[in-house]
Structures are given as structure tokens and as C-alpha cells.
Amino acid sequence: MFDDTRPIFLQLADSIADDVLRGVYAEEEQVPSTNELAAYMRINPATAGKALNLLVERGVLYKRRGIGMFVAPGARSLIEEERRQAFAERFITPLVAEAKSLGLSPAEIARLIDQRYAALPADPQQTSKEQQS
């Protein structure tokens, strides 16, 4: 569930953000508490607390005093935007490096991407959005 490259609280914060992005937690919905996360993940409660606080700082979650943590309105688009900005660094940079060491040209990379993109099944979320608009 967690790897050794980064602190666990960062990995946990990312995984909760993933859940918000995929709609596991809707906006204004309550997320698990520090103690629930700690027990479920078998991690130190301080680590779980740090993950939740980081998401509060980033505006993904907000605190309701004495009740718990909730997904902030607009959290999904906020995470989408963060992920788009990180996309090139996380995925394109290593892809280009590997392609270069294999002698693939940018045009060949683009052709491969087009092929794979076309082979993907239609995204149900995307189609439902299009139907709504």
C-alpha cells in the first residue's frame, strides 16, 4: 500500500485525493477521522493526522469543529488542476527519457500515444458529462 520513496503521510494524502477525484467521497461528504484511518491502515495516528492536515492546507478538505473533516466544495477541480500541472513531470519526462534511450523519435511517440488512446474504451464519466451538456 505504501512504498519507501516518500513519507507515508504524503502517500496517504495522495490516496485520499485520488478518492476525491474518483468520486469515492463527494464534495461536502465526511472523510474518515484520524483514528479511523490509523486503525484501518495500521499506521501511527500522528501520520494519519498529518495527511488530513496537509489536505486541509491544500484546500481539499475542511474542518468542522467537533464533527470532523469534510471534502471542500470545488475540491475535485482543485485536484484535477494540481494533477494536470504535475502530469508532464510525473509521466512525460520519464517517457521521453526512456523513448530517447530506445531511439524513438517524437513523431513515433506521438503515433504510439494516438494508437493507445484510440484503443481505450469510451469513458462512462466522460459520456455522461457530454449527455448532460
Partner: protein, 299 residues
């Protein structure tokens, strides 16, 4: 902010313990914070058990001092009562059965929770009939865990509490440790070699080697605070030369080195330019590297 008036759980200054010429603990100065789970890591003989014995006043330092909640614990009954130390080779009187051990603990520990003890005895399936002396290694460990958690002591020390426990029993321990800790926050110190399995339970980590503290930090700080490079021996050596290398290994023409510090962009570029492979270092690997490093330096 916690109130600054409350002294830390444990404060050791230049704590040293020698046994007939062998130095078990060598000038250890450290603070163990209240209401946190701290891991005590290091090789066998690094001084972990000696440190716990000195803190709980079961042994006297050769020099230096230790304070518990701001006071010297030696011959302070009411301070010693607040501490619970379960040794990995904890001994019980010959005729003791489970009920005797529980009865004695209920008298010794003022915050004893019989409810926790009953629940854990059932979860671990500790037998009531045989004498404790006949217990298997795993049953002995389970009994130690029951006493440690049910004591609800202000400071609880576990010395390798998992010995002989199967995977299911270890998970019971981790779950019960966390739930006891969240419901009744207190100071817990545990020594372990099962670092890959238990590191996530910890908040603070103390790494001992040859009687000295080599690292003392938040466990999260140490995660990603070292990396390993592997490749041609000459390239590894070149790379390690102007960096802090903790452990260096060469077999034939191949080498690896564990480098302290987080991986910076220029490290990555230098490693790539030298065709070195970079891999993350787990806390277990880091502790092992500290253990190797000191010996290599002594060579």
C-alpha cells in the same frame, strides 16, 4: 503547543553503562517525548535493552543521568509504578499460571485494565492451565503484550514483543496497540528488528549502534532520507566519494552504496550520467546500513 512546564517522558544525559570493560551504552543523550510511540532500532548488542533497563531503574548507570517525568527514578516507587517494562526474556516464578501473572500485574500497575487483559487473552488464545514456564515462545510474547497493554502505564517499554508470534497474532498486537494508544494516549517505547512491518506504527525513531545514538528523528523524516545507487564498482565509488556514504559493498566489478540524504536533482543526474541505478532505501535498510557503516569505518 504542549505546556512547556510538563517535563518529557524520559531525559538521558551522557548515559553510560559498562560491564566489565564492555561498553553497552556510551554517552547517550536523548529525550523521549510524552504520549508518542517511539521505536528503538539497531543491531543486537547496540544497547537497546540496556537503555530500557536504565530508564526503568532496573539497572544503574556507570555515569551520566536519566530522568523520568523530570525525576531520577532510582528507588522512587511511585515513579517506577508508572512504568512497565516487558523484557523479551521476561521471567515468572516457577509455579505461575496465567491467572497468577495477571493477579500480580493487577497489584503492580495502578491503572490496570482487567477488561483489556480479558479481551487480549481471548484474542491471543493464551491457555490458562499450563504453568507459564511451559509456554511456547509465542505464548510468552502474547502474555507480555497483554501485561504491557493492560497495565495502561504512563510509560510502557516492549523489548522485541513479537518473538515467536505468527502473522495473525502480530496483526492483533498492532491493532490493539493502536487502539489502546488512541483511546488512552501514553508513552510507548518498543525495540524491534521487524522494521519493515512495524515502522508505520511509530512516530519517533531512535537508531542505536554500538552504544551510541546515530539517528533520532520522526520516522517520516527518515523515509526517503537515503537512497541506494548500484552499478559498476568504480562508478559507485566515484559517486560515493563526495557524498555521505553509510554502507558500501563491492562484489566483483559491481557495487552498491547507501547514501544519506534525500535524492536531489543533481544526484539523480550524476547517477544517470554514470549509468547507476537508483533505488529507495527502506527504514530497515537504513538501520542495517548504520550497523554496517560503523564496522566498515573501524576496519
Amino acid at each position: 503547543m504542549t505546556p512547556s512546564s510538563a517535563p518529557p517522558a524520559v531525559e538521558a544525559r551522557a548515559l553510560t553503562r559498562r560491564y566489565r570493560g564492555a561498553t553497552a551504552l556510551d554517552g547517550v543523550t536523548l529525550t523521549i517525548e510524552r504520549d508518542k510511540i517511539t521505536g528503538l532500532l539497531g543491531r543486537n548488542g547496540a544497547g537497546k535493552t540496556t537503555l530500557m533497563s536504565l530508564i526503568t531503574a532496573q539497572d544503574r548507570p556507570t555515569s551520566g543521568s536519566v530522568h523520568v517525568h523530570g525525576r531520577d527514578p532510582f528507588e522512587q516507587a511511585e515513579l517506577i509504578e508508572q512504568m512497565c517494562f516487558l523484557r523479551d526474556n521476561q521471567r515468572y516464578p516457577d509455579d505461575y499460571k496465567l491467572k497468577h501473572a495477571i493477579r500480580a500485574a493487577r497489584i503492580c500497575y495502578p491503572n490496570w485494565s482487567q477488561e483489556t487483559a480479558d479481551r487480549l487473552i481471548e484474542l491471543f488464545r493464551i491457555p490458562s492451565k499450563p504453568v507459564v514456564k511451559k509456554f511456547s515462545r509465542g505464548q510468552l510474547s502474547a502474555l507480555g503484550i497483554v501485561l504491557g497493554l493492560a497495565s495502561r502505564s504512563e510509560i510502557t517499554f516492549f523489548d522485541e514483543p513479537y518473538l515467536g508470534l505468527d502473522a495473525t497474532a502480530r496483526h492483533i498486537f498492532y491493532d490493539e496497540l493502536l487502539s489502546e494508544f488512541t483511546e488512552h494516549p501514553r508513552t510507548i517505547v518498543l525495540s524491534t528488528h521487524l522494521i519493515n512491518e512495524m515502522d508505520r506504527l511509530l512516530e519517533r525513531v531512535i537508531i542505536l549502534d554500538q552504544g551510541r545514538v546515530v539517528r533520532h528523528a520522526d520516522v517520516e523524516e527518515l523515509r526517503g532520507d537515503a537512497f541506494q545507487v548500484a552499478g559498476r564498482a568504480a562508478a559507485v565509488e566515484e559517486f560515493a566519494r563526495d557524498r555521505r556514504s553509510l554502507a558500501h559493498r563491492t562484489i566483483g566489478g559491481l557495487g552498491t552504496a547507501v547514501i544519506e540524504g534525500s535524492l536531489a536533482t543533481d544526484d539523480r543526474e550524476a547517477a544517470e550520467a554514470a549509468s547507476l541505478e537508483i533505488t529507495p532505501v527502506s527504514l530497515q535498510d537504513l538501520v542495517a546500513a548504520y550497523g554496517v557503516g560503523a564496522e566498515a569505518a573501524a576496519d
